[in-house]
Symmetry: C2
């Protein structure tokens, strides 16, 4: 069969400058904001007419870190503890025959200024730099099927972890530019409560981790009663 | 930005051999069955492991009749009577910058026989021959947002039409091969109750129509109190 060619209409700018820490599905962490910058050739205000009336949109995107790389017939979903393999088509893994993803996110607003068209999104699970192929309105009457059976992924991932911040981490947050790093504490709390550690890498004994958000390194430790954010480094900037 | 290339993993076989009559969203007509035949290179049973446990799947596909054709910044959604234009990104029209569609459909069963892997689907809105790029499990906890605001498309399209069959049409259905044309009467009823007529073509005065399903021509008329299926022709076979 023929191949089909698609060109991005825009690009995601998000806090997720690396894969570790990204929520495993959209909307699990509302504070995960991002922008979708529309490329000049698609910056036609008309093409977005009445989109503002939708609270949620589908973002169809390329898993660009996976694109062109080999896929495997089975994957190990993190929620199964990394011990069980399921078929790639029974998963949302980016390593699939066609590295296309779809995420429903909140549409916070559309910024229309001269020479720029930018969508502000919430609840994203998208890596910084993600190429976007399409935007579609979310239609609850068609897209929402509350009683769908979902096998191993029937329930939302449990939020089990209690998150606290060291006084040093609190001080760092207080002095960081809130416009550049919006609602950072809530964002970190939301992300860590998802327990981003990859179970299958056998991190059971490891106690200290780093998660990158923008150019920040969020250092945290696993303790008996939860996770503690120990420090926030701006090593990259 | 670079273009991305995707090759189909399979192809849809459905009753919809032409665009007229296709439900405007998936799941509006449960009787609209289809099969998705997986291409030989992707026929790895492993890749579908545990997919059977999901009642619904996303089909990511190419609007192949629209692919490569020019797109317009605005479209006229049928539900608005064809009189109002909205932005293409506020619509699900196939004429979009990247002719990619996504439909959530029911997964009736997976047929695994030697040399064949075939998904049996229900509630489809997919044209016969549609190239499929991906299959993803439907995850209610991530994909179902019951209170999403959806602007002009907030409500499901109304089923207003009363559908009846002439005795001639009834007789035709009775003698047609039920395996080849499964639950044909329920299918026709479901499709016509969606009122497939394109409002914007000014069909207000036209009273007789034909809708093609497989190789059948379903002839129907608009009458004061609903629609009447007047005849079913097998002219194509």
């Amino acid at each position: 069969m023929t191949a089909y060619h698609f060109e991005p209409i825009g690009r995601i700018h998000s806090c997720f400058t690396e894969k570790f820490g990204i929520p495993r599905q959209p909307n699990l962490v509302p504070e995960a904001w991002a922008t979708l910058d529309i490329l000049p050739v698609f910056q036609k205000a008309e093409a977005f007419r009445e989109l503002d009336d939708f609270s949620h949109v589908w973002i169809v995107f390329v898993f660009h870190r996976c694109y062109g790389r080999p896929w495997k017939a089975t994957v190990r979903p993190p929620r199964l503890g990394g011990n069980r393999r399921v078929g790639v088509f029974a998963s949302r893994s980016g390593f699939r025959p066609n590295a296309i993803g779809q995420s429903v996110v909140t549409l916070r607003r559309i910024e229309r200024e001269k020479g720029r068209l930018r969508l502000h999104l919430g609840g994203v699970d998208l890596l910084d730099g993600t190429p976007v192929l399409d935007i579609k309105p979310y239609l609850p009457y068609a897209d929402c099927i509350p009683d769908a059976r979902a096998g191993y992924a029937s329930d939302a991932p449990a939020h089990r972890r209690r998150i606290t911040f060291s006084s040093g981490a609190e001080r760092r947050i207080a002095i960081l530019d809130a416009a550049r790093y919006p609602h950072l504490k809530a964002l970190i709390t939301g992300l860590l409560s998802q327990d981003p550690r990859p179970a299958y890498k056998g991190t059971g004994d490891q106690a200290a981790f780093g998660m990158r958000l923008w150019d920040l390194n969020i250092k945290f430790e696993i303790q008996a009663n939860g996770m503690v954010v120990t420090d926030i480094e701006t090593a990259f900037g």
